[in-house]
């Protein structure tokens, strides 16, 4: 037992700790799924449909089976029920139309890229070669491709269902008792107020994580082990068990090092299910690693909505109502939370503003394209885009500064906690302060003055300044709320803390990191709370045999839900250690205080450290009778509320009015994400999010041709930004600690993505608004911007295939079409 010990000097929380993860990542000692090799392992290659919609007439596998080193070739019929099914965990309405989703269908394919057969061979190259030899006869069916047309049921994506309309979901503030009647608000604004009506396109995006998905299944041993490049090992294990009948306890899922996800690996994939079935059938380990082309074509896509928005305001520019009508493209199947993604935006269109009346309507629609699901932000970027574009339009209508108009309508710092028209209670925030800081960083006033000069001078290159504020609901989620939304699971998280005999601490979390730096951030939390050195904490995750309970990582939830579970588990360890400390110190438990990892007897220099107690509990030679000899503890935390980070993002762009070229000159943002555990990690999350959001505004789009083939199916066609396209950012924070968790933290993973898209598009439109333009459809490519300037329209849709630039006869869709704008 020690006498006096210096308490830990520096607090870990708030420190710019360099990441624990990095040592292995910068030296190439990483365990990606594709690195795993097992004795006798076989390799899979998928035979995929080239058609968007077709009947499978016959599959001839003879030639492929005869190829060198091919072990077997299997179809959906061969695998039968053993292949399980891909689940939808969130039917957003009771009567949602949900097509059955087999990993490998037997009779009909519903999108180009769907798997119809799998080749099993001794090497990946031989499997791929043999896949070419599988002869599939298809009978092509008409395909439902365009979202608006699909919504009319003109062509059916799944003829048996009789409709493409999957579900209609509505929230109305008058019905919910959270606000007034939106139609009345709009009607009264038509008479003497302001009504803005617009229609915006949220183009289809591809998450495009850098590590292609990979899965290894080892059926030898008592448990079947599945390694997968997934964000959701726990949910995957559940889904495999639930649909194949293999007991959950016989399945171990491991997410080793995972190379990015952004929602794109929040999925139970057909390839995982096929690998699982093949391994069981053949009795040997198997591996499947997708190519990039397969990844872009068949890993789920994101966004893809049409948004019709009606904003009502009085003549002074105070908002009085907002009505939202969405069409959301689900693709060929309702993915694991596919239908729910737009609903995650349902409570966010009103954003930080005090709308007295609000209505949200969403129709989800099936088409014959790759299925959609969560992509960074999931529902909330779409909502923020909609409202922030509309606030700029309102400002333009009023002829006022867009920040002024926002300020007039946002919730004042003194009004928190604030119950919104969508029924959420925002805990804390200070929009004014974040906005002020962002304006300083950008040099807002000076840039406005420069803009005026250049506009007056009629410069060829015009300056535009884009504003976007945002808030989002983070930390999915209170289980009861998810229950009310008919979601299939809860939103709690689990953590346990194991005190090892040597004084080291193992922390097990149900969150599953794939680049977020949990090992570092969680170590900081535990080091502070438990009073142990940062380096003595080992964070374990992503293996269902080690972390037996968890709901994984998405929705900016790991820190705010998973971190809170950790805090609770650590507190339990300290509680458990206390009677042992009292016993060993022969003191009263009430006289003990826990500081810096040590129980001290108040007023004396007597004390015992947590490490000594861990050793004593391990030896178990001397402990109180009513105690079990262990300090280990676990906790499951179910959040009481979401948390609501917010921020103001400002962007200055230059637009060449002769070529349509857009270049970002400066980007500044000030986010309020509550207390910060590790500023370095937070900055990284913001930077990465910003570039993804900017990429939606300017570059990225998944484009299909008229027959339903993805033409942006490689990195030569799908424009991921590079170093040369991007710039360094000005990032700062204000701090309004969250009141819904002990650490006072708010989610940060999605913030950058959410606010940057509208900030950039607002800037582009601002640069050319004086030319009569009030919208440019995303991505704002030079071609679209140029066309908008020429025709003062919105630049039209992306042509269906790789067409020459500036072609005259493309099928243009005006994004303000039908909106009466």
């Amino acid at each position: 037992m020690t006498a006096v010990q210096e308490p830990t000097v520096e607090r870990e929380i708030g420190r710019e700790r360099r990441r624990k993860e990095d040592q292995r990542l910068i030296t190439g000692r990483t365990r990606w799924t594709d690195n795993i090799n097992l004795p006798g392992m076989l390799h899979l290659a998928m035979v995929r449909s080239p058609f968007a919609h077709a009947k499978i007439v016959s599959i001839d596998t003879t030639a492929a089976k005869d190829a060198t080193n091919v072990v077997d070739v299997l179809t959906g019929a061969d695998l039968g029920e053993s292949q399980g099914a891909c689940i939808n965990a969130w039917a957003i309405t009771e009567d949602q139309v949900t097509p059955p989703h087999l990993p490998m269908p037997t009779d009909r394919v519903a999108f180009a890229g769907e798997v119809v057969a799998v080749v099993v061979a001794r090497s990946a190259a031989e499997a791929r070669d043999a896949a070419e030899l599988v002869d599939v006869e298809y009978e092509e069916l008409p395909a439902a491709l365009d979202l608006k047309e699909a919504a009319t049921d003109a062509v059916l994506a799944h003829p048996d269902l009789g409709t493409n309309k999957s579900a209609f979901w509505k929230f109305d503030s008058a019905e919910a008792g959270t606000g007034g009647d939106v139609d009345a608000a709009i009607a009264s604004a038509r008479d003497g107020g302001i009504v803005i009506e617009r229609e915006y396109r949220q183009q289809r995006l591809i998450p495009a994580f850098m590590e292609p998905r990979s899965v290894v299944v080892d059926p030898t041993g008592e448990q079947i082990t599945v390694w997968s490049a997934t964000q959701i090992p726990h949910i995957l294990r559940f889904a495999i068990a639930a649909t194949t009948g293999v007991p959950e306890s016989k399945i171990r899922v491991i997410a080793p090092d995972v190379g990015g996800g952004f929602g794109g690996k929040l999925q139970q994939t057909p390839e995982e299910m096929i690998a699982f079935a093949v391994a069981r059938r053949i009795g040997k380990p198997v591996k499947f690693t997708e190519t990039r082309s397969e990844s872009l074509m068949t890993a789920h896509h994101g966004r893809d909505q049409w948004q019709k928005l009606t904003l009502a305001a009085d003549k002074d520019g105070k908002v009085t109502g907002l009505k939202v009508e969405l069409l959301a493209d689900l693709g060929a199947y309702v993915a694991i939370i596919g239908g729910g993604v737009p609903v995650l935006g349902a409570f966010m269109f009103n954003s930080i503003y005090k709308f007295p009346a609000y209505q949200f309507n969403c129709q989800t629609v099936l088409t014959n394209k790759t299925w959609t699901d969560a992509y960074r932000g999931a529902g909330r970027p779409e909502a923020t885009y909609g409202i922030e574009r509309m606030m700029d339009e309102l400002a333009a209508e009023l002829g006022e500064d867009p920040i002024e108009v926002r300020r007039r309508n946002w919730i004042d710092a003194s009004e928190f906690p604030f119950t919104t028209v969508a029924g959420l209670e925002y805990d804390s925030g200070d929009y004014e302060k974040a906005t002020q800081r962002a304006m300083e960083m950008l040099g807002y006033d000076e840039l406005r003055a420069e803009q005026k000069r250049r506009r007056d001078a009629g410069d060829r290159v015009q300056l535009g300044i884009g504003v976007s504020t945002f808030t989002e609901m983070c930390g999915l989620a209170p289980s009861r709320v998810l229950g009310q939304l008919n979601y299939g699971a809860g939103g709690w998280e689990h953590a346990s803390v194991r005190m090892l005999a040597t004084g080291k601490v193992e922390v097990v979390t149900g969150a599953s990191a794939h680049g977020q730096g949990h090992e570092t951030a969680f170590s900081q939390i535990v080091a502070d709370r438990l009073g142990v050195p940062f380096d003595d904490v080992e964070v374990l995750h992503g293996d269902t045999q080690i972390s037996h309970k968890g709901l994984d990582t998405y929705g900016s939830r790991s820190l705010v839900v998973g971190g809170e579970a950790l805090v609770k588990a650590v507190d339990k360890v300290i509680e458990k250690a206390k009677p042992l400390a009292a016993h060993l110190l022969e003191a009263n438990a009430e006289d003990l205080e826990y500081v810096g990892g040590r129980f001290g007897v108040r007023g004396t220099d007597q004390g015992v450290t947590i490490q000594e107690l861990a050793g004593a509990a391990f030896a178990a030679h001397n402990y109180p009778e009513d105690m079990e000899p262990s300090l280990d503890a676990e906790a499951t935390y179910d959040p009481v509320n979401f948390n609501y980070p917010h921020g103001t993002h400002l962007c200055a762009v230059e637009v060449d009015t002769e070529t349509g070229q857009v270049s970002i000159r400066k980007y500044a943002c000030c986010d309020d994400i509550g207390n910060i555990i590790n500023p370095l990690i937070v900055a990284g999350q913001v930077h990465g999010g910003l570039v993804q959001g900017i990429a939606q505004a300017l570059w990225e789009e998944a484009v299909y041709d008229d027959s339903g083939t993805l033409v942006s199916g490689s990195f030569t066609d799908y424009l991921l930004p590079t170093t040369a396209d991007t710039l360094s950012f000005e990032v700062d924070h204000t701090t309004s600690p969250s009141l819904t968790n002990t650490l006072g933290t708010k989610g940060v993973g999605e913030a950058g993505t959410i606010a940057s898209t509208p900030a950039v598009v607002n800037a582009v439109v601002d640069a050319v608004r004086h030319l009569g333009i009030n919208d440019i459809q995303m991505p704002c490519t030079p071609q679209r911007v140029w066309k908008a300037i020429q025709g003062a329209g919105s630049g039209g849709a992306t042509p269906g295939a790789a067409m020459p630039h500036f072609s005259e006869d493309q099928p243009g869709q005006d994004s303000t079409e039908g909106a009466g704008a």
Partner: protein
């Protein structure tokens, strides 16, 4: 099958390979050099970048037979005697990686960039790394890491503790 002999991360190796085998496949599948990864099939991402006789190449774009008689350095051979290469150290110091999948290629390309131009401007860094994709970091801290590695000032800031409510 063709016989090749080469030096990889300082070790002499020889194998019979199929003429179509890519250098990256050879490194990963034959030598177990899994530090080098594959991120695409169109030579766009740069995740597979290694040094071939001192020059950076995308190893998915080189046949194993072309490396016959050459010296290859991968991310696994960059640290010497347990000492990280300054660029590796800089990536950690500046948080130039998140998931780390692009990192081996990014580091190898940065090392080559600094060899050619020991004092690059931000623009030169951005142009020099254009062939390497990263989906996580937004490149901000990657650029900073390269600046840090060559001892340049760190350019744009990441203030964090600014205003407090």
């Amino acid at each position: 099958m063709t016989r090749i002999s080469l030096t990889v991360d300082g070790a002499k190796v020889a194998d019979d390979v199929e003429p179509r085998m890519l250098l990256v496949q050879y490194l990963r599948e034959r030598l177990g050099k899994t530090g080098t990864v594959v991120g695409c099939d169109t030579s766009n991402c740069g995740a597979c970048t290694v040094h071939l006789d001192g020059t950076s190449v995308k190893s998915c774009n080189v046949l194993a037979v072309q490396a016959d008689g050459c010296e290859v350095t991968t991310i696994e051979g960059l640290a010497q005697d347990g000492e990280l290469h300054p660029v590796q150290e800089a990536f950690r110091e500046c948080h130039g990686l998140q998931c780390g999948f692009c990192t081996p290629g990014m580091i190898m390309q940065s090392v080559a960039l600094l060899k050619d131009n020991p004092n690059p401007s931000e623009e030169e860094i951005r142009l020099g790394l254009e062939g390497n994709l990263c989906r996580c970091t937004g490149y901000h801290n990657i650029v900073k890491a390269v600046q840090h590695a060559c001892g340049a000032s760190t350019g744009s800031t990441n203030q964090t503790a600014g205003v407090t409510a």
